[in-house]
Assembly symmetry: C2
Homo-oligomer: 340 residues x 2
DNA sequence: TAGTTAACTGGAAGCGCTTCCAAGTATATT
DNA sequence: AATATACTTGGAAGCGCTTCCAGTTAACTA
C-alpha cells in the first residue's frame, strides 16, 4: 500500500539504484535523470522508510538524550538548546527520561545495543566506569552534559569558580558570618561548589566554621537540590539564634526559594537580616530578586549537540572538554544596592 | 561485528525462527528450548536491532510528539506526564519541536510517511483540515492535546468555564470595573476565554465595555501569551486614568506577570488598587501570590498517552474527547483574604 | 501398535532501503 | 574512425529481523 522505492523507479523509468542516488544527493547523476526521478517522487508523494534506511545504512540518523526526569527550568532550557542546534542536522531526538537510579543504566545498555541512536547526550548524571569502558570499546559517541568523566567528552559549568565568586561577593559586601547550604555531597556539583566556597573563605582570611555548613541530606531519594530541603536547612541555621549567619550561599536557586521562605516565617528580612545568594539563575530568581550565579544553559545544549555531531559525522575522536563559566547576576537579596 | 539473531541461533543450537519467538514471547515454545535460547542471549549479550524489527514488523514502537518550541512550565510539565505514562509501554518518544509555522506541517507530513512513529501527539496547535483528512485516510493514530478538532481525538481544558469562574470570582469579590487582557484571537484558547469572560459579565448584569478588553496583538510572530505583551496591554488600561479598571482577568499567568510589573511601575498596588487573576497556574504564580485557574497539565499528558496507546495497540477507533476542568486557586492578587 | 492429531521448530521469503559491481553510454584522444 | 577513458545506470546482494509454511516430533486414541 505505501509507496516504495520500486514504485518510484517504475514511474520514473529508472532503476532503484538511481532513485536511491537521487534521494541521497549523490553527485554521480545527470541533471535530467535527477529531474525525472524528483518528479516521480513528488507525484507519488514518496518518502523513504526510515527504518529501512537505518538498517541498510547501519545508521539511525537519530540521537538519544538520557536526562533526569525533567521538571524544571534547567532541563527545559537545556532541551531547548539541544533542539535548536539539532535542527541544523536532519536528526531526530529520542528522549529517555530517567526517574530511578536503575533506569539510567537500562537506557545506556539499550542505547549501546539497539542501534537505534547514533550518539548519546548524557545529562546531569554520573556514569559508572563500566559503561565508560563500554562506550569507549564500541565507539558509540557520547557527550556528557553537566557531568564529567576524564575519558569522555564533557561539557560542564565551572561550579567551583561560581561558588568562589558568589562567596567572594558576600565577603566584599562586608559580611563576615557566612554560611553555605549545599546539596548532597554524592552530587558532583555539590562537592565542587563546596570547594569554591571554602577556597573563597580561606583566601580572604576567614576560617571555615562547620556549624555554618549544612548539607541537605534530609531524604534518601532526592539529591537535596529542592525547595523543601532548602527550607529545612535554613531552619537549622536559624536555630543558632544569636549565632546565626548573616549571609548564606545556597547551592541552587530552588533551594534558595525554600531558604527565603524559612527566613520569612521567622520574621527575618532578606537582605536586611540575612543576605542570600543562589546558583543557577532559574526563571524564578528574577521575580524574587535573588542574586545568583547564572549558567549558560542554552549554550550548553547547543554546544553538546555540536560536539556530538562532530563525533558522529566527522568521526572526530579527539577528546573534548568545555567548562562554561558562570556569571554573577546581582539583584536585591544580598543588599548590594543598599550598601552603595 | 555486532551479534545478530543468527549468532544466538547457532550458539543455542536452534533456528532463527525459534530465537525470534523467544524474543517476542511467543507461547508456542517449550520451556526447555526457551531456556536454552535465553541463556545464549545472555551469554552473547544480544539485543535485537530496532530498525530491523521495525522494518519486519511494520511497526516502530515509537510515538512522536509535535510540540511548540517549549520553553516554559506548561510544556515541560506536559512532557513530564507524557513520559511518565509512556514508561508503562515499551515505546520510545521522538520529540519534534516546532518553531516556525511551516515546520508544523513539515513534521506532520514526515510523521505520516516515514513510518518511524506509530502515533502522534499533537500539542497546542491547530491542525489544518488537509492534514486531518490525511490522518483519517491513512489511519495513523493521532491525539490532539490542548487543541481541538471535531473529527480527531482531543484532550482539552475547558477554557470557557475557567474564564467564567475567574471572572465570577472577581465579581463576587465586589469588583465592578472589570477588564480582560487576552492573547491574540487567532488562538483558540484566547477566543474561548473571552467567551467565558463575556458570559460571566452578562449573567451578572454587567455590560461589556470594549475599552476594558485588550488583545495582545503587539507583535506579528507571537501569540500574545507572554510577559511583554501583558506589560504593554496593562499600560493601555492604566492610560485610562481615573477610568481604569479595578480588576483584570488576564488570559495567562505569564502575561499577568507583565501586567503586575506595569502596575508596580506606575506605583499602584496589587490588589489594593487593582486586582489581578491569571490562568494556568505556572510555577511562578505561587511566588508572586497570583490568584489563577489551575490546569491539570500532568494529567493531560498522561491521558494523552493512554488514549494514543489504546488507538495503537487495541486499534480502538472510537472517537475520544476529554475536556478537563480548571480549578480556582486563590492567592493574594485579588484581595480575597483581605475582604473577609 | 499403528494411525491421528496437536504442538513445536527450521528456515525461506520478504520488509524497503543502500551499495557494489558490471554493463552501458558519452566524451576525449590519437 | 577507432580506441581509451570517464561517467551513468541497473539491479543483485545484503542489512537483521518477523512470519508463514512445511516438516518433525510428541501426545493421544482406538
Amino acid at each position: 500500500m505505501p509507496v516504495t522505492i520500486y514504485d518510484v523507479a517504475k514511474k520514473a523509468g529508472v532503476g532503484i539504484g538511481t532513485v536511491s542516488r537521487v534521494i541521497n544527493n549523490s553527485p554521480r547523476i545527470t541533471r535530467k535523470t535527477k529531474a525525472k526521478v524528483l518528479r516521480a517522487i513528488r507525484e507519488l508523494n514518496y518518502q523513504p522508510h526510515t527504518s529501512a534506511q537505518s538498517l541498510a545504512r547501519r545508521k539511525a540518523n537519530t540521537i538519544g538524550c538520557i536526562i533526569p526526569y525533567f521538571a524544571g527550568y534547567f532541563y527545559s532550557e537545556l532541551l531547548h538548546g539541544i533542539q535548536r542546534k539539532l535542527r541544523e542536522f536532519e536528526y531526530a531526538l529520542i528522549l529517555y527520561s530517567v526517574d530511578i537510579q536503575q533506569s539510567k543504566e537500562f537506557f545506556l545498555r539499550r542505547a549501546l545495543q539497539e542501534r537505534r541512536v547514533d550518539g548519546i547526550l548524557f545529562v546531569s548524571m554520573e556514569i559508572s566506569q563500566r559503561y565508560v569502558d563500554k562506550f569507549l570499546s564500541t565507539g558509540l559517541p557520547i557527550v556528557l552534559v553537566n557531568s564529567f568523566h576524564s575519558a569522555l567528552d564533557s561539557i560542564t559549568v565551572d561550579s567551583t569558580e561560581g561558588a568562589y565568586i558568589a562567596t567572594k561577593h558576600l565577603i566584599e559586601l562586608g559580611y563576615t558570618r557566612i554560611a553555605m547550604i549545599d546539596g548532597q555531597l554524592k552530587s558532583i556539583p555539590a562537592r565542587l561548589r563546596f570547594e569554591g566556597f571554602k577556597k573563597a573563605l580561606q583566601q580572604h582570611g576567614f576560617h571555615f566554621d562547620k556549624r555554618y555548613f549544612v548539607v541537605c541530606d534530609f531524604s534518601e531519594e532526592a539529591d537535596g537540590f529542592n525547595k523543601e530541603a532548602g527550607y529545612l536547612a535554613m531552619q537549622k541555621l536559624l536555630d543558632l539564634g544569636e549565632e546565626m549567619p548573616r549571609a548564606v550561599f545556597v547551592s541552587s536557586d530552588i533551594q534558595a526559594i525554600g531558604v527565603m521562605q524559612a527566613i520569612k516565617e521567622r520574621d527575618f528580612v532578606v537582605p536586611d537580616d540575612i543576605a542570600i545568594i543562589g546558583f543557577d539563575d532559574i526563571e524564578l530568581a528574577q521575580y524574587v530578586g535573588l542574586t545568583t550565579m547564572r549558567q549558560p544553559i542554552l549554550e550548553m545544549g547547543e554546544l553538546a549537540v555540536k560536539r556530538l555531531m562532530e563525533r558522529i559525522i566527522r568521526k572526530d575522536r579527539s577528546e573534548f572538554k568545555h567548562n562554561f563559566r558562570t556569571q554573577l547576576v546581582v539583584r536585591e537579596s544580598c543588599g548590594a544596592y543598599k550598601n552603595k
